[in-house]
């Protein structure tokens, strides 16, 4: 199973997401990347992330994305 870091690397291969604690502030993920990320997470883990959860706080770093996946019943 792909890790969150693998998925992010596919979306933005030029960045090292493991070194950042705030993807947005570090200029690593823009709003459009976030839309791609949600679609990829849904597909990879067979879930449907609720619209209400698609807020910047949930996509701040690897840890917050992992927490969002756990909320959707996935152990990343």
């Amino acid at each position: 199973m792909k890790t969150i870091a693998d998925i992010l690397k596919e979306i933005r291969p030029e960045f090292d997401f493991t070194t950042s604690t705030d993807f947005k502030a570090d200029g690593m993920l823009d709003s459009f990347d976030m839309v791609t990320l949600v679609a990829t997470l849904d597909k990879t883990y067979g879930i449907s992330i609720s619209g209400a959860d698609i807020v910047p706080e949930n996509f701040q770093n690897l840890e917050t994305i992992a927490a969002l996946l756990r909320k959707n019943g996935v152990q990343p």
Binding site: D26, D30, F32, G51, A52
Partner: protein, 278 residues
């Protein structure tokens, strides 16, 4: 229409539409700071109806319309209830990967919007080598406060405010203060400028412009070379350009930018469309 007084109020309004909506669709991807500025300047108003929220942002002498809808059908039904939409000067941006935005476009067309312009996003890796860059002898400096009126006049004279999101004086002042506008002055006037926003490892090139009298004399090249060379920590450069602006697209390609697949379909209400397609 209700003005939004806080950013939290905007998110709360969006949340009521999003909750449990499987077909949620939106063209609202605000950057936190920009949203804060719009609210503070009292530029953002909202109107909601069952399953859809419409946000109007004042921009110069027209409005930009953003929507959040539970589904494309809810968008179509909701937009039909907005009074006076056809007579107002309104622009809608639809950003997406595909060249045809499908159902959402049809819903907006049914409400009277017409295809006005198309922009494409171009990207460049931070480390790619410059194939060529003339103008090395031209002096590039950071813009100062005294340049603001000339910068504004140059931008307003060259760009289409409906399609290209022209900055307000306050935004230019902020950009000058944070060192995000490079200029070349020749013969005592502002010959060209390059306006950018760097955040972390990404830099967005917002405007690259040379006054007509100074074009094809390497002023543009000097600005571009200086910009690319000074952003040494940037890993990704991005910009939006009108897809049919061959002159600019070709020059951007020369500096290593290539389309990254993202497209912005700019739709306009009839008063704006008719003004420009007579």
């Amino acid at each position: 229409m209700t003005p939004f007084r806080t950013v939290a109020g905007v998110f709360a309004a969006i949340q009521t539409v999003k909750a449990g909506a499987a077909g949620f669709c939106t063209n609202f991807f605000p950057d936190g700071q920009k949203l804060q500025d719009w609210v503070e300047r009292n530029e953002l108003h909202g109107e909601s109806c069952a399953g859809a929220l419409f946000l109007f942002r004042r921009d110069h002498d027209f409005s930009r319309l953003y929507f959040c809808a539970a589904s494309p059908a809810a968008l179509r039904a909701g937009i039909a209830t907005l009074a006076g939409l056809r007579n107002e000067r309104i622009v809608v941006d639809l950003v997406g990967k595909e060249s045809a935005p499908g159902e959402i476009f049809l819903a907006l067309e049914a409400a009277g919007f017409r295809r006005y312009q198309q922009l494409c996003r171009m990207a460049r890796p931070g480390q790619s080598a410059l194939q060529a860059a003339g103008g090395a002898e031209l002096p590039v400096t950071l813009a100062g406060h005294a340049d603001v009126p000339a910068i504004l006049a140059l931008l307003e004279g060259a760009f289409d405010r409906y399609a290209e999101q022209l900055p307000l004086t306050a935004e230019i002042e902020n950009a000058v203060a944070s060192g995000q506008i490079f200029v070349v002055r020749l013969e005592g006037v502002l010959a060209g400028l390059l306006f950018f926003e760097t955040q972390g490892v990404t830099s967005i090139l917002r405007y690259w412009l040379v006054a007509e009298a100074f074009r094809a004399r390497h002023v543009g090249a000097a600005l571009m070379r200086h910009y690319l060379a000074t952003q040494s920590t940037v890993r990704r450069f991005l910009l939006w350009v009108i897809a049919s602006n061959d002159n600019a697209v070709q020059k951007y390609r020369r500096y290593g930018f290539v389309p990254d697949g993202l497209v912005d379909h700019v739709l306009a209400s009839e008063p704006i469309y008719n003004e420009n397609h007579r």
